[in-house]
Amino acid sequence: MSTSLASEIPWPPSVDDFFLPPIVEGTNPWFTKVTLLVWIAVAALIIFFLVTYREPKIVPTKRQWIAESIYGFVRNNVAKDLIGHDGIRFAPYLTTLFCFVLLTNLFGIVPGIQMSPNSHIAFPAILAIISWVLFNVVGIRQHGFAKYMKNSLIPPAPWFILPLLIPIEFVSTFVFRPFTLAVRLFANMFAGHMILLVFTLGGFVMLNSNAWLAPVSVVSWLMAIALTFLEAMVIVLQAYVFTVLTASYIQGALAEEH
């Protein structure tokens, strides 16, 4: 290999690239770009929905129409379709969840920011835990604790096979669901960021190496642009899937008669 890597390019990209330094050197190590991004996302959502709904009119203004469209999309297509008429009371939480996940995911491809807080496992994990607590509390409140446990843990099977099946049902319902919710979102954001890092930094590495590889760096950057568009699609899809699965679990918890 006659290529020489320029020393200042962090190549190859690794997990360490996801651990960012604190914004002000020497202060609290937790105040990084990621923390700031989460605060910005929360503030942006609160301000957006407050401002657009300040004086709602019957004939909506443009901003009010945008806010209503976002809320209407989640309320009609997710809450009402999946949970039924009873599900309208979950529409505010599902809208907030969808918008927050979408916004924090989008930070991953916005030029200049290019880091999604969801590529750290902590944020998807907390969101998944909140959804898990929500669908369990809803089910317990609807049916009572004993009946909810009976409905969700005991499959229709002869009594002598039940000891075999109940641990499987327990793990599949109470462990697998929040775990896959969190890991699905985390893995998509992590992998997306890694791929973009590989192609972008790879272009710079090839540019700085021998003369034969320098033109190939353009191909690498074109791939990075194409993958950014793919990442945009993945971002919207993952936000939607997270919300739809939460709604589906709530529906399963609410209607548990066998």
Binding site: I161, I168, Q251, A255, E256
Partner: protein
């Protein structure tokens, strides 16, 4: 005699669409193998049987997972 029909009486429908059912199916299989493989490992640690209970547990768990899928998603 009138039977009251309540909104909560609907049985949990399997997730709409094939992809949702696919996730349920694979989750039962993996959960079955993991849970019973782990129980088999605990038995192995306790009685020091040389790895056999893990295999038995995994197969039993796979069978349980298949049975659950047939019951929930099958005819």
């Amino acid at each position: 005699m009138v039977r009251r029909v309540m909104a909560g009486d609907q049985s949990p429908q399997p997730p709409a669409g094939g992809a949702g059912q696919g996730w349920v199916a694979i989750s039962y299989l993996i959960a079955g193998i993991a849970v019973w493989g782990f129980i088999g490992w605990l038995v192995d640690q306790r009685f020091d049987l040389g790895g056999v209970p893990i295999g038995i547990g995994a197969v039993v768990g796979a069978a349980g997972g298949i049975y659950l899928i047939v019951r929930r998603l099958g005819v």
